[in-house]
């Protein structure tokens, strides 16, 4: 047993030795249970324990806890120790509390009282003990109790330095728990000036506090920039003997330097003060220069500390993104690290370079290191380093090097670690699409992806290749040929069968001229895979088969045989059975013309951001650099109308992309004369148009984004809008219904919540020719939740008579909803959590007509929240969940709508974390059903 320092507790040491001597897990548990029983009886016993004994037992409990056992008693005894007048007992009491008491314990009041007493103590060591306890477990209650005292302690002239240090971090903890605790006004400047404190330890602690304050309120604390730069400058120019014990292995104050550099990353470069900016640049230059100097020590601590400062300086340079020289210098420095023998340095250099690649100033410089990065991806021994290399290749890719990088990534994928394959597949798919100049190359890459790593190719990837092939005539024949060849491999991945099935079904005719890929051969090839595939793929293939019947009437009989096969027509799977029987019927009943109409080539998909990118972003939030170089390598330009067409599809793009969930066949009624019904549905649905709206009834736009906003005998104004997060694009379409031009068209926006909702209007042509339609784009950004709906007045002159129309725009708070899926358990948990008076809003209102649950359902589906089925025990009730996206915050929102058929009433309840949101959503929905 090693010697025990200070006031040793013999009993504790003996107990620990006993545990260590236990030969088995069982013996250990037995010993522990014995001890727990002993302590329990001591605590319950009649004999009052003295402080030493309490301390000893509490310490034993701590040790038992450390061994991984639950401790459910002893808290009271620990709290008693807090008021002991022996320091060692007090200290153990505090230790137990900071390790074992959670913040909502019943004992918290007692603890707060003890802390209060100790804060009053004249002995700074006692004060510090109390402060440390707050800093470790501080809660809202503590913020309330100590909110006024601690700031005073922090800035007062007669507080000792050690106490100041603890007070700063204590305040930081309380600030994180309840931000309102920081006093404003003159305190701001006093806190900022801690950066000038002569004691380096105080500055170190204070910088952490200031960093958090700045994040909350950058403008108020702007003054810290000048002081931070000055302090940093003093440190980096200091010789290592100047700072005495704050020099760490010959590096002057590395921790404080890094904190200051971090602090400065909260601001844009100090441009209004050229002096400060110049001084900062000098600091950064000095840091670079020092990095080039020969090391003052061979110890790894020296180089780590030096490089830590260097990396943080580079982060700041990247953040500022304004000094090309420094950016390029950073890049060269990191380039050297790429071949350093320290794995840690290579890892960090790759990571940091990834950020440099996104700056237009340093992108080219990063590209110079492509070869070595590719080598890192292939040769590094540590998968986390290889992962960084993959990330960097992805970030440094552009039109000039895409082919090579994609090729290398594909090659590496064959042997890549399982843990990073899926992500690599996504990355390759995105790069191939983004930088494809020749889409045949793109098709090759994706098919290769499926071949090499089929299991890791998610639905989004193969949906996307089909989207692209369908939208680009020039690759269709090539895609059909390539996929046909790929399918000839004796074993091919099911994803390949899916893509092959879809593409041949659409474009098989383009290669049918070649006898090697005649219709018969195509069909047999696909069908040879059928029995090995899952139900979903089989369903897709059945659709392909009926398409082939349309393309090649000569194989109709053969296909009908397949539909008729027992395994299909009588399949145990209802989806397969339905498809087989309906397609069979369709092939028998329909004339060639009808068949051609039903199975017409798929229309082009609306252009949209790749859904793959969304998946990648979700996988690695914050780690996928937004493409800041977009101006240099623009994505294929997207016509605004095309975006508008995709309204409502964008959210569920991956799910409904191929219409797999509602295949053409399964939409057909299964009874009676199925075929006619199919067509009937098709035709009527295209005729539905809301052109009967005579006045601007904004309420109906609550539940939809497109339609006619206003119409009279002169003019029709239509709207199409789409929303994503807190942003929206609204397209207005002005149509002139007359034989004469409409002139001086002048739209104007009015709304009062300017600071809550930002709406920008693009200029438009002032003349609307007879019979013509022009469009105008508006963009909206929701800053904070709002109630005032913007209105627009359009004045114009028709036949020399001035006219003016005023209408509300369909821009209500619910447009910024993101639907949220959740299960019953989490719904009710949240529902309960949001039970406060400030969070609820409720309205009871009369139904507008007879209660129509289907109608209500349809409306709610368009409102923007997620309808959650099977959660409310009463099946007639509706519950929904969604998140309102505003720039300031995201507000989770739950809804419950309870229809009462007898009374013809509805009760609507909204709960959200923000009162005004609950109110507004409630107001919007009231009286709507």
């Amino acid at each position: 047993m090693p010697a025990v320092r200070g006031d040793g507790m013999r009993g504790l040491a003996v107990f620990i030795s006993d545990i260590r001597n236990c030969k088995s897990k069982e013996a250990e548990i037995k010993r522990i249970n014995k001890e727990l029983a002993n302590i329990r009886s001591k605590f319950k016993g009649d004999k009052t324990l003295d402080g030493y004994q309490k301390k000893k037992y509490v310490c034993k409990l701590l040790f038992i806890f450390l061994l991984g056992h639950d401790i459910d008693f002893g808290h009271m005894e620990a709290v008693n120790l807090l008021s002991s007048n022996k320091y060692s007992e007090k200290q153990i009491g505090y230790l137990f509390i900071s390790v074992l008491v959670n913040t909502n314990s019943d004992l918290i009041k007692l603890i707060i009282q003890s802390i209060k007493n100790d804060l009053q103590s004249r002995n700074p060591i006692h004060v510090n003990l109390a402060l440390q306890c707050i800093a470790n477990i501080g809660s809202k209650d503590m913020a309330e109790a100590f909110g006024t005292e601690i700031p005073k302690l922090l800035v007062s002239g007669d507080t000792m330095d050690v106490v100041k240090q603890s007070a700063a971090l204590c305040l930081l903890r309380l600030f994180r728990k309840s931000p309102e605790i920081i006093p404003g006004g003159e305190w701001t400047s006093r806190i900022i000036h801690l950066l000038n404190d002569p004691h380096m330890g105080v500055v170190t602690a204070a910088t952490s506090l200031i960093d958090a304050l700045v994040k909350k309120n950058p403008d108020e604390y702007k003054g810290c920039v000048t002081l931070a730069v000055a302090r940093l400058s003093r440190i980096v120019t200091a010789s290592y003997t100047d700072l005495q014990d704050y020099t760490y292995y010959f590096v002057p104050a590395p921790w404080l330097s890094v904190k200051l550099l971090r602090l400065l990353q909260n601001y844009t470069p100090p441009s209004e003060e050229p002096g400060v900016r110049g001084r900062l640049s000098e600091c950064l230059e000095t840091i670079f220069n020092k990095a080039q100097e020969p090391p003052k020590s061979k110890k790894v601590q020296h180089s780590n500390a030096k490089n830590a400062v260097l990396f943080e300086a580079i982060s700041l340079i990247i953040h500022n993104d304004s000094e090309p020289n420094l950016l390029v210098r950073a890049c060269n420095q990191l380039g050297q690290f790429l071949s350093n023998r320290e794995t840690n340095l290579r890892y960090l250099a790759l990571e940091s370079m990834c950020h440099l690649a996104t700056s237009e100033f340093s992108h080219e410089a990063v590209k110079k290191h492509q070869e070595i990065v590719i080598l890192s991806m292939k040769m590094e021994k540590d998968v986390s380093v290889r992962q960084q290399a993959v990330d960097l290749l992805y970030a440094m890719c552009d039109k000039t090097n895409a082919e090579e990088i994609v090729q290398e990534m594909l090659a590496y994928l064959e042997t890549a670690d399982y843990s990073i394959r899926e992500e690599m597949v996504l990355k390759v798919a995105i790069l191939a699409e983004k930088y494809a100049t020749d889409f045949t190359w793109y098709v090759d890459v994706i098919l290769n992806l499926i071949r090499i790593a089929g299991d890791y190719v998610s639905e989004e990837v193969w949906y996307r290749v089909i989207q692209i092939v369908i939208n680009r005539d020039e690759v269709q024949a090539y895609a059909a040929k390539t996929v046909f060849e790929a399918l000839q491999a004796p074993t091919c991945h099911e994803n390949m069968v899916k893509v092959g099935g879809y593409i041949l079904g659409e474009f098989g005719n383009l290669i049918a001229g070649d006898t090697r890929s005649s219709p018969q051969v195509q069909f047999e090839l696909l069908h040879s895979k059928y029995h090995l595939c899952s139900v979903a793929t089989r369903a897709l293939l059945l659709s392909t088969y009926i398409k082939l019947v349309n393309l090649f009437p000569e194989i109709k009989n053969r296909v009908q045989e397949v539909f008729k096969a027992d395994s299909n027509l009588r399949s145990a799977d209802v989806e397969l059975q339905q498809r087989a029987s309906e397609y069979l019927q369709l092939s028998i009943v329909a004339s060639t013309d009808v068949l051609a109409t039903v199975l017409e080539e798929m229309p082009a998909f609306p252009e949209r951001e790749s859904s793959i990118l969304a998946v990648l972003k979700k996988k690695k939030p914050g780690r996928i650099p937004d493409d800041v170089r977009e101006s240099k390598s623009p994505l294929p330009t997207v016509a605004p109308t095309a975006i508008l067409n995709s309204t409502n599809n964008t959210n569920s793009s991956s799910a409904d992309l191929l219409g797999l969930s509602t295949p053409p066949g399964s939409a057909a009624p299964t009874t009676g004369n199925g075929l006619l019904d199919v067509l009937g549905d098709l035709y009527t649905s295209t005729k539905i148009s809301p052109s009967t709206v005579q006045q601007n009834n904004i309420k109906k736009f609550l539940f939809k984004n497109n339609g006619v906003l206003f119409e009279n005998e002169l003019i029709q104004i239509g709207v199409k809008s789409e929303f994503r997060q807190n942003l929206g694009r609204i397209g207005l379409f002005y149509g002139n219904k007359t034989q004469f031009p409409i002139q001086n068209v002048h739209p104007e926006l009015h709304w009062t919540d300017l600071h809550k909702l930002n709406v920008q209007m693009k200029p438009m042509e002032p003349i609307l020719e007879a019979g013509a339609q022009i469009q105008q784009m508006l963009t909206a950004e929701c800053i904070e939740d709002f109630t005032d709906v913007p209105s627009m007045s359009v004045s114009f002159i028709y036949n020399n008579v001035p006219q003016k129309i005023t209408m509300k725009l369909p821009l209500t708070l619910n447009k910024f909803f993101e639907p949220t899926e959740m299960n019953g358990e989490s719904f009710f948990a949240r529902w309960k959590n949001l039970g406060g008076e400030q969070q609820r809003a409720q309205k009871i209102f009369k139904a507008q007509g007879p209660i129509d649950l289907t109608g209500t359902r349809t409306k709610l589906a368009g409102f923007g929240m997620q309808l959650l089925d099977g959660i409310d025990p009463n099946p007639d009730n509706f519950v929904c969940a969604g998140i309102v996206h505003t720039k300031m915050q995201q507000v989770g929102c739950l809804m419950r709508l309870e229809p009462n058929k007898q009374a013809q009433m509805y009760r609507l309840t909204i709960r959200s974390s923000k009162e005004s949101v609950s109110q507004e959503i409630c107001n919007l929905l009231a009286d709507q059903f």
């Binding site: 090693p2 025990v4 320092r5 200070g6 006031d7 040491a13 620990i16 260590r20 310490c59 040790f63 450390l66 061994l67 991984g68 639950d70 022996k86 320091y87 060692s88 200290q91 230790l95 390790v99 913040t103 440390q132 800093a135 470790n136 477990i137 501080g138 050690v162 240090q165 603890s166 971090l169 204590c170 930081l172 903890r173 380096m200 330890g201 170190t204 602690a205 952490s208 014990d245 760490y248 104050a253 590395p254 921790w255 890094v258 971090r262 601590q301 780590n304 500390a305 490089n307 830590a308 990396f311 794995t343 840690n344 890892y347 960090l348 021994k381 540590d382 986390s384 992962q387 914050g622």
Partner: protein
């Protein structure tokens, strides 16, 4: 900000845990278990940093003991490594060539020293001298009082 620090042995036995974020005990146990397994599975020459769930893990092995810190994304990895080193230096100085046993038998001291170095997940004092001074002052207070008791 540091979210938590774990000290564990090569056999996977936890020697010290300090949490700066509030988690239920169950979750703490789960995190501890998983992280220990992950770190122990890594080979010696591998990089000391790893992206793990939503934290950045920085770890280093000293003899039979692993020191492992979970940091936030923006924290500086290399300096975290040196923070661990500073902690080891402090233990070493205090115990005089520290070994795993010292930490087992005097775990409360290991906590007190850590509290002087890191507070609420933020670095409090980097000067070795100042930390040791603070600890010495605490010890002195204990010994004074003990003397008082004996007489």
């Amino acid at each position: 900000m540091m979210q938590f620090m774990l000290l564990f042995s090569r056999q996977g036995k936890l020697r010290l845990q300090k949490w700066y974020v509030a988690h239920p005990d169950k979750l703490k146990k789960k995190i501890t278990r998983e992280l220990i397994t992950t770190v122990l599975a890594r080979k010696p020459k591998m990089c000391s940093f790893l992206e793990w769930k939503d934290v950045k893990v920085v770890y280093k092995r000293y003899a039979s003991l692993y020191f492992c810190c979970a940091m936030e994304q923006e924290d500086n990895e290399l300096l975290t490594l040196e923070l661990i080193h500073r902690y080891v230096e402090l233990l070493d100085k205090y115990f005089g060539s520290v070994c795993e046993l010292d930490i087992i038998f005097n775990f409360e001291k290991a906590y007190f020293i850590l509290d002087e170095l890191v507070l609420g997940g933020e670095l409090q004092e980097t000067s070795k001298k100042n930390v040791l001074k603070a600890i010495a002052a605490q010890d002195l207070l204990q010994e004074d009082l003990n003397d008082g008791l004996l007489h």
